[in-house]
Symmetry: C2
């Protein structure tokens, strides 16, 4: 089991901002899946996470769409816009928690952040 966290690298976000966005996506994915078997297995496994790069808003939305069509849980993060990026900007996407092999079908071409 794993949770993929895909973050845009074209926004010029600093590492603290990136960490906050990724954390937001991870919490949203956890809450959305809470009580289900995938979440349980993922937590049992030590909640493995992988942080990956997307190059644009279109790229992130395309990945989110692919993941949804594959039946995977998806959580998109829109920033509140208090710092660094405009309000409503899509910054990050969580895919999972789910079987690693299912996630890999969607994320195989993405580089690690």
């Amino acid at each position: 089991m794993k949770l993929a966290l895909v973050v845009r690298t074209d926004l010029g976000m600093g590492r603290g901002k990136i960490a906050a966005q990724v954390a937001h996506a991870a919490v949203a994915a956890t809450l959305a899946s809470l009580g289900g078997p995938a979440c349980y297995s993922w937590l049992e496994d030590g909640q493995p996470k992988v942080v990956l790069k997307a190059t644009s808003a279109e790229h992130l939305q395309d990945l989110a769409g692919q993941a949804r069509r594959a039946g995977l849980p998806v959580e998109l993060v829109r920033d509140a816009g208090r710092t660094q990026v405009q309000a409503g900007t899509v910054t990050c996407c969580a895919i999972g928690p789910a079987e690693a092999a299912q996630i890999d079908v969607v994320t195989a071409d993405l580089a690690l952040l």
Copy 2:
């Protein structure tokens, strides 16, 4: 309400590794506080997070101790050690979710990551 995520900067972790550790701390803090009024208020507020720097393991443990003595929820993250750092290394700490003013008493001297 906010959640402070304090991460060590002396380990040479890359930004993806930092994001994963911070996300781990945020998920742990969410799960530990789930169902309580602080968690509810924090989620209602849009789960605000601040990512801050600690300079060493001792610094992080000292902050965690201060937060515990102040009655704040604390979650320390120990890395599984698969990449970049040794297994069991304390990398990150979540303080909260709690009233921002209460967290600030402990974290006021820390710089943003």
